[in-house]
C-alpha cells in the first residue's frame, strides 16, 4: 500500500516538533486542571473517556462471559442485572454521548472555524468537571452495590421495587447531563459568534454542521430527562405521586419524558460521528463531499425529525394504538436524511483517488455497519415487527450496530485522523490498519449472531437462556474477545507513538480544513494571525496552489 498513499511527512532527520505549542506552553498538573484551552480540555476528556470506556468494556466482557453457557453460573442473576445496567449507564452517559463532541469537537471546532477558543472556556472546563463528578459518582455507585433497573430507570421498577442505588446513579446521569448541556451550548455559541472572516455557513466543514445539529439536541432534549430523573428521585425519597400508579400517577409518563431525551440522545451520539466520516471520506478520496448542502441539511433534518419519534421505544408499553401509528410513520422519515448521508458519501468515493489509510478503513467500517444498523432500525420502527422483535437480542444487536459499529468506528477513525494534529506525531500505520480490520471482524462476530438470536426469540436482560441458543452465543462471546483485542491495540500503539511516532508536520493528509493549515501540535491561540477563509470548503485545488506558492517562497 506504500505506493498509493497521500501521506506527506517532512524529512524525519531534520523535522522537529515545534517548540511552542499548546502542550509545552505550561507544565504541571495544575496547568491542566485549571486550563481554559479547548485543546487541553479535549485531551482531558480523551483520557477520562478512555478510562470509562474500558470500565464499560470490562462489564461487557463479564456479560458475554456469563452468556457463554445457558445456565446463570458465573454470577448470581441479580448481579448480572447490575452488570448490564452499569454497562449501559457508563457506556451511554459517560462514553457515547460525550465521545466525539467532547474530544474531537472540543479540539477541532474552534480551529475549523478559525477561532482562538470556544466562546466560553470556563464553562467548557466546568463541563469537564461535571463530567468527572458524574463519572466518579457512577463508579462509587458501582463499588457500593450497583443498580439493577437497566439504564432506562423505568418506573415503577426504579421508584418502588428495587432497593439498589437508583438515587446516586440518577444523580450521576443528571450531572453528566448538565455537562453535555454546557458542551452543546458552548458549541452553538461558538459556531454562531466566533467564525473567522469569510467563514460563511456554507463554507463550514461538515464536521461543524454535524456538531451544530447535535448541540441543538443536547440543549433542547437533555433538560427533559433531567426533570424526569428529579421526579424519580423525589418519588423514591419523599414519595410524591407523579409516576406512582397506586396514587394515580402514570408510569408511562416517565417513559415519555425519558425517551424525549433518550431518543434524540442517539442522534447526539451518532451525528458527530457522521461529521467525522464526512471529513475522512473527503480527504482520502481527494474530492469535495458530494452534495455538500444536502449532507449539511440532512444533519439538521435528523436533529429535527429526531424530536418527533421518541415513542417508538414504547410501542409495547401501553401507549395508544393511534399514537403508535403516528410515531411509526414519523420514524420512517428519519431514514431519509440518514440515507442521504450514506448515498452522498458513496458518490464522494465514486471516481475519487481513494487511499486506504487507517481512518479510511474505519470509515468504511462505519458505512457498512451503520447501514446495517440503520436498516434493522426500520424493522423496529414498523409497529408490527417491533412487537415481535422488541426486548429481544435483535434490539441489542441493532443498537450496537449503530452505536459501536457506527459511533465507535467513527470515533476511532477521527482519533487516528486527527492524532497527528493533536500530538504532532504519526501513529504506526501498519499495525493500526491491522487493528481496524480486527475490530471490524470481531464486531461482526459479536453482534451479527445476536440478530439471529433476536429473531429466534431470545429475550434480552436475562442471565440464562434455553440451550439451543448456545452455539450463537458462543460465537458472540468469541467475537467479543477479538473485539477486545481490536480496542486494546490502539491504546498501546497510540501511547507508543507519543514518543516514537514519526513527526507529522503540519498537514500529513494533505487535507483542506483550516485546522491543517497551522502547526501540529497547534499553538495555544491556534493561529499565528487570524485566518481568512478566501476559498471554498474541501477545495483541493486551492490547497495545491497554496503549497506551490509556499515552495516558491521557500526557494526564492
Amino acid at each position: 500500500m506504500s505506493e498509493s498513499t497521500i501521506v506527506k511527512l517532512p524529512d524525519q532527520s531534520t523535522a522537529r516538533i515545534p517548540k511552542m505549542n499548546y502542550l509545552s506552553k505550561e507544565n504541571g498538573i495544575l496547568s491542566w486542571l485549571l486550563t481554559g484551552d479547548h485543546k487541553r480540555i479535549a485531551i482531558l476528556y480523551l483520557i477520562s473517556l478512555s478510562f470509562f470506556f474500558f470500565i464499560g468494556g470490562a462489564l461487557a466482557g463479564l456479560i458475554r462471559l456469563e452468556l457463554l453457557t445457558p445456565q446463570a453460573d458465573l454470577m448470581a442473576t441479580d448481579t448480572y442485572n447490575k452488570v448490564f445496567t452499569m454497562h449501559g449507564v457508563i457506556m451511554i452517559f459517560f462514553f457515547l454521548v460525550p465521545s466525539v463532541p467532547a474530544t474531537l469537537g472540543n479540539f477541532l471546532i474552534p480551529m475549523m472555524i478559525g477561532a482562538k477558543d470556544l466562546a466560553l472556556p470556563k464553562i467548557n472546563l466546568l463541563s469537564w468537571y461535571l463530567y468527572m463528578a458524574g463519572g466518579l459518582l457512577a463508579l462509587y455507585t458501582m463499588a457500593t452495590g450497583g443498580v439493577d433497573t437497566g439504564w432506562t430507570f423505568t418506573t415503577p421498577l426504579s421508584t418502588h421495587y428495587v432497593n439498589t442505588n437508583v438515587l446516586t446513579t440518577g444523580l450521576a446521569a443528571f450531572i453528566a447531563g448538565f455537562s453535555s448541556i454546557f458542551t452543546g451550548l458552548n458549541f452553538i455559541v461558538t459556531i454562531h459568534k466566533m467564525r473567522a472572516p469569510g467563514m460563511t455557513w456554507f463554507k463550514l466543514p461538515l464536521f461543524v454542521w454535524a456538531h451544530y445539529a447535535a448541540s441543538v439536541l443536547m440543549v433542547l432534549a437533555t433538560p427533559v430527562v433531567a426533570i424526569a430523573i428529579v421526579l424519580v428521585a423525589l418519588e423514591r425519597t419523599i414519595g410524591i405521586g407523579v409516576f406512582d400508579p397506586t396514587k394515580g400517577g402514570d408510569p408511562i409518563l416517565f417513559q415519555h419524558l425519558f425517551w424525549f431525551y433518550s431518543h434524540p440522545a442517539v442522534y447526539i451520539m451518532i451525528l458527530p460521528g457522521m461529521g467525522v466520516i464526512s471529513e475522512v471520506i473527503s480527504t482520502f478520496s481527494r474530492k469535495r463531499v458530494f452534495g455538500y448542502t444536502a449532507v449539511a441539511f440532512s444533519s439538521v433534518a435528523i436533529a429535527i425529525f429526531g424530536f418527533f419519534v421518541w415513542a417508538h421505544h414504547m410501542f409495547i408499553m401501553g401507549i395508544s394504538n393511534y399514537a403508535v401509528l403516528v410515531f411509526s410513520l414519523l420514524t420512517m422519515l428519519v431514514a431519509v436524511p440518514s440515507a442521504i448521508k450514506i448515498f452522498n458519501w458513496t458518490f464522494t468515493l465514486y471516481k475519487g483517488s481513494i487511499t486506504f489509510e487507517t481512518p479510511m478503513i474505519y470509515a468504511f467500517g462505519f458505512m457498512g455497519l451503520f447501514t446495517i444498523g440503520g436498516l434493522t432500525g426500520v424493522f423496529l420502527g414498523v409497529s408490527g415487527t417491533d412487537i415481535h422483535l422488541t426486548e429481544t437480542y435483535f434490539i441489542v444487536a441493532h443498537f450496537h450496530f449503530v452505536m459501536v459499529g457506527g459511533m465507535l468506528m467513527a470515533f476511532l477513525s477521527g482519533i487516528h485522523f486527527w492524532w497527528p494534529k493533536m500530538t504532532g506525531r504519526m501513529y504506526p500505520e501498519k499495525i493500526s490498519q491491522l487493528a481496524a480490520v480486527v475490530t471490524f471482524i470481531g464486531f461482526n462476530f459479536t453482534f451479527f449472531p445476536q440478530f439471529i438470536l433476536g429473531t429466534l426469540g431470545m429475550p434480552r436482560r436475562y442471565a440464562s437462556y434455553p440451550p439451543e441458543f448456545q452455539i450463537l452465543n458462543v460465537f458472540s462471546t468469541a467475537g467479543a474477545t477479538i473485539l477486545g483485542v481490536g480496542y486494546l491495540l490502539p491504546v498501546l500503539y497510540l501511547v507508543w507513538s507519543l514518543r516514537y511516532g514519526k513527526i507529522a508536520g503540519n498537514n500529513p493528509w494533505q487535507a483542506t480544513g483550516l485546522e491543517w493549515q497551522t502547526q501540529s501540535p497547534p499553538l495555544t491561540e491556534n493561529f499565528v494571525k487570524m485566518p481568512i477563509m478566501d476559498h471554498d470548503v474541501y477545495d483541493y485545488e486551492w490547497l495545491e496552489a497554496q503549497q506551490e506558492k509556499e515552495k516558491e517562497v521557500a526557494s526564492a
Binding site: 433542547l220 408511562i252 415519555h256 424530536f307 418527533f308 421518541w310 415513542a311 395508544s320 399514537a323 403516528v326
Partner: protein, 110 residues
C-alpha cells in the same frame, strides 16, 4: 471597530445596544399589574370552560410583555428571537406529541 462603524451598525439596528427607557419599564410594570388584577378577578367569576382559557391568555400576554421589553427581545437580533421561538416550539412539541398518546388512548374503547 471604529466609531463610524459602531454608528453604522446602530443604524442597521443589529448589534447596537439599545437602552430601554425607565418610562417604558414603568408602563410595562403597570400593564403587568393590571393583568394580574384582571386574572385574579376573572378567577372568581364562573365562566365555565372559558376560565382557564382567559387565565392562560392573560398569562401569555404578561409573559410576552416581559420577554419583549424586560428581556429586550424586541430590540435584539433575529437570532435571539429565533432562540425564543425554538424554545416555545420544542415546548409545544413535548406537550403536543405526549398528548397525542393520552387523548387517543381510549379511542374506540367506549
Amino acid at each position: 471597530m471604529s466609531e463610524q462603524n459602531a454608528h453604522a451598525q446602530h443604524a442597521e439596528g443589529k448589534h447596537a445596544h439599545h437602552i430601554v427607557s425607565p418610562k417604558t419599564y414603568a408602563l410595562i410594570l403597570l400593564a403587568l399589574l393590571v393583568g394580574t388584577a384582571t386574572t385574579v378577578w376573572a378567577s372568581y367569576v364562573d365562566l365555565g370552560i372559558w376560565n382557564p382559557v382567559i387565565a392562560l391568555a392573560i398569562a401569555c400576554t404578561k409573559a410576552t410583555l416581559v420577554v419583549l421589553f424586560f428581556m429586550h427581545v424586541k430590540y435584539s437580533s433575529k437570532l435571539t428571537m429565533l432562540t425564543v421561538l425554538a424554545g416555545i416550539f420544542m415546548f409545544l412539541t413535548l406537550i403536543g406529541m405526549t398528548l397525542a398518546d393520552y387523548i387517543s388512548r381510549a379511542w374506540g374503547q367506549w
